[in-house]
Amino acid sequence: METLVLDGITTGYEGREVLKDLNLVVEDGSMLAVIGPNGCGKTTLLRTVTGTLKPWRGRVMLFGGDAARLSRREVSRLVAVVPQESYFVYSFSVEEIVLMGRNPYLRRFQRERPEDYSIAYEAMRFTDILHLKERRIDALSGGERQRVVIARSIAQKAKILLLDEPTSHLDINHQIEILDLLIRLHRQGMTILFVSHDLNLASEYCERIALMNDGRIEAIGGPEEVIDPDLIHRVYGAKVRVEKNPITNLPHVLLPGRLEES
């Protein structure tokens, strides 16, 4: 089934066109990486899916229905977002932040119900932050904070999880932690759309990769099809070599500099 369809989307900011007649189909339960050069429209693509940016032309279809007809609350029950970095003006506790994920299910004057607490606790257990629940969010490290935000998006019980370079500010240990989390979510049937700068990370972790270029999808397919030196040269303008990673047997991008010297 098609969970998410972007049908001829053209949109942008203040007269500047960013997405240009973009088409994308995301299958139910798939894990798709979106890669592409800076400014090609990756984040704009995510904004269009959540409806925080309205398409000028074209339609966003969520589970077969036109997303433009859904309210903010209805969209937030289907789509959850993990941004690159989160800012917290006021120092809420971890538990309070995770419980915010239940907002789409609560009426205005309603308090969180016991089931909301149990869903939030389950999400915190899943991301291994239950022991941090009393801590203030601004006292946590970047990796812990990102796990809190992922727990919040799990508590949202959405069908689609959008991530905007969720690991780009983290060291390698925390990167692996977050990616393992995503793999576990994917195995539970979550549809994941993962924007990344890191070609190798996309290649190792996602079964499908969409390569964006100047507001369009340039290529989409498995790592073997998309992580291709000619394609990368055409889109990024960089000459790279692609070898097989001996551990995973998946394509791995090598930077040319040192390689050609030796």
Binding site: V81, S86, E96, R108
Partner: protein, 270 residues
Amino acid sequence: MVSILAGANLGMVGATLQGILLNPLADPYILGVASGACFGTALPLALGLRNMEIIPLFSFAGALVAIFAVYSLASFKGRIPKDTLLLAGVLVGFFFSALVMLTMVLGGRELHNIVYMLMGHLGVVFHRGLIIPFTIFAAVSILVFIVSYVHGRELNILSLGEERAAELGVESEKLKKMVFLVSSLSIGVTVAFCGQIGFVGLVIPHIGRLLFGPDHRILIPSSLLLGATLLIVADMVARSVAPFEIPVGVVTALFGVPFFAYLLRKRMSE
């Protein structure tokens, strides 16, 4: 009686505005709302009007005009960048302060009343003739409290930023308009009765947050109670320390600032 209502309103509006603007420096004064309300109050005073059933309407109108002037200056394509909002607030504040000074010059014999209003005072004593104005003040306070309190969870989420809030299902533009409307109602009525009492709206929510945490569902009622308590104490001090009555706005600032500084230092050392 007046100090309870005024303190409650100032504390609670400070808390909601700081929440909605994602900015702990926001308060009715910085936003220019209080200046708008002052002009709304000064105008009928200058014309010699003393009727406390009518003056609050002018103050509310002034506050409302100010807040929507700020809003339309700062909003762009239906969104309000928060730094622009504060700048617009300062701008509108200056504009209305200038208008207040103009009314002072033109007001002539009523100058004394306007200056007194600007300094902030709690001199309005409850008596039979003021039942209707007091009922309006109390009713507005309760209404504003209910509306702010009911939106507590959404205010919490909005503090993550507008886009995050949208992703969590909050209609932030609607929420903002609602909060602006009830805030100007609250500030308008408070200024009509008590004039400008600074500091309470800015600092009370900070004290509330230091004591009870940032959850608006606790912060709004606690700011209400703390604001009322602070003004009762400030009023007693204003009346008792000197042979003449000190404007209460002076007292709140002189006592509140060191107290706030102490809380701030204490939190930093933890």
